[in-house]
């Protein structure tokens, strides 16, 4: 997912360079805030797996979630405080476009997982039939 987001970030930044440097770095900054927060969440949420790891999963999920919100808040605060001039609507455009991209990529990942499971179930059934 991060790979797709990074590719989209580069493409959007290069595309928006024709509207000026401020537009380009505003979009890039918005996208970077989301990517950093999401990377932190992904790192924590997918750290533990399995039935035995229940409490650890809950704890790391909670850490990932609160860290994600805190990182997003910190990123926005720093951007609004330190970056001048900043095109605010384009900053939010960069941020929201990463969210929309994530919806599409997550949809594809979920479909791929479902298809993989169906295939492995069919293989198991075929093995049992043999």
């Amino acid at each position: 997912m991060l790979k797709y987001q990074a590719l989209a970030l580069v493409a959007m930044t290069l595309g928006s360079l024709s509207f000026g440097v401020v537009a380009a770095y505003s979009i890039a900054l918005g996208a970077c805030i989301y990517i950093a927060a999401n990377a932190y969440f992904s790192f924590y949420a997918f750290r533990y797996r399995g039935d035995q790891m229940g409490p650890w999963i809950t704890r790391s999920f909670s850490w990932g979630e609160s860290g994600k919100l805190a990182l997003a808040a910190l990123g926005f605060a720093l951007a609004f405080r330190l970056v001048r001039p900043l095109h605010v609507p384009l900053l939010f455009t960069g941020f929201c476009s990463m969210i929309i991209l994530q919806w599409f990529v997550a949809r594809r990942v979920i479909d791929a997982i479902a298809q993989q499971q169906t295939t492995s179930n069919e293989l198991d059934k075929a093995k049992q039939a043999d």
């Binding site: 805030i33 989301y34 927060a37 999401n38 969440f41 992904s42 949420a45 997918f46 797996r49 399995g50 039935d51 999963i57 999920f61 979630e65 994600k68 919100l69 997003a72 808040a73 926005f76 605060a77 609004f80 405080r81 605010v88 939010f92 941020f95 929201c96 969210i99 994530q102 919806w103 997550a106 990942v109 979920i110 997982i113 499971q117």
Partner: protein
């Protein structure tokens, strides 16, 4: 006075966003437990899907946090 109202607006914005996320996570986690109890063999797969959905669920409140930060750090100091 205007500055105080802007801070209050940002607080309400972030608070309601957090409430929405909490309700969403409650529903998501409840359904995960329910389906894992019904089909324990699907547990790990459902957990992975749940984390993906959780990433999407809290994306929208993050926009609220962003707008809140804009109100606090860009709008309020100028008043």
């Amino acid at each position: 006075m205007e500055q105080a109202i802007v801070y209050l607006a940002a607080a309400i914005l972030i608070g309601i966003a957090a409430l929405g996320t909490a309700l969403g996570f409650g529903a998501l986690g409840g359904k995960l437990l329910e389906s894992s109890a019904r089909q324990p063999e699907q547990g790990p797969a459902l957990q992975g899907k749940m984390f993906l959905m959780a990433g999407l669920l809290d994306a929208v409140p993050m926009i609220g946090v962003g707008i809140g930060m804009y109100l606090i750090f860009a709008v309020a100091p100028g008043l």
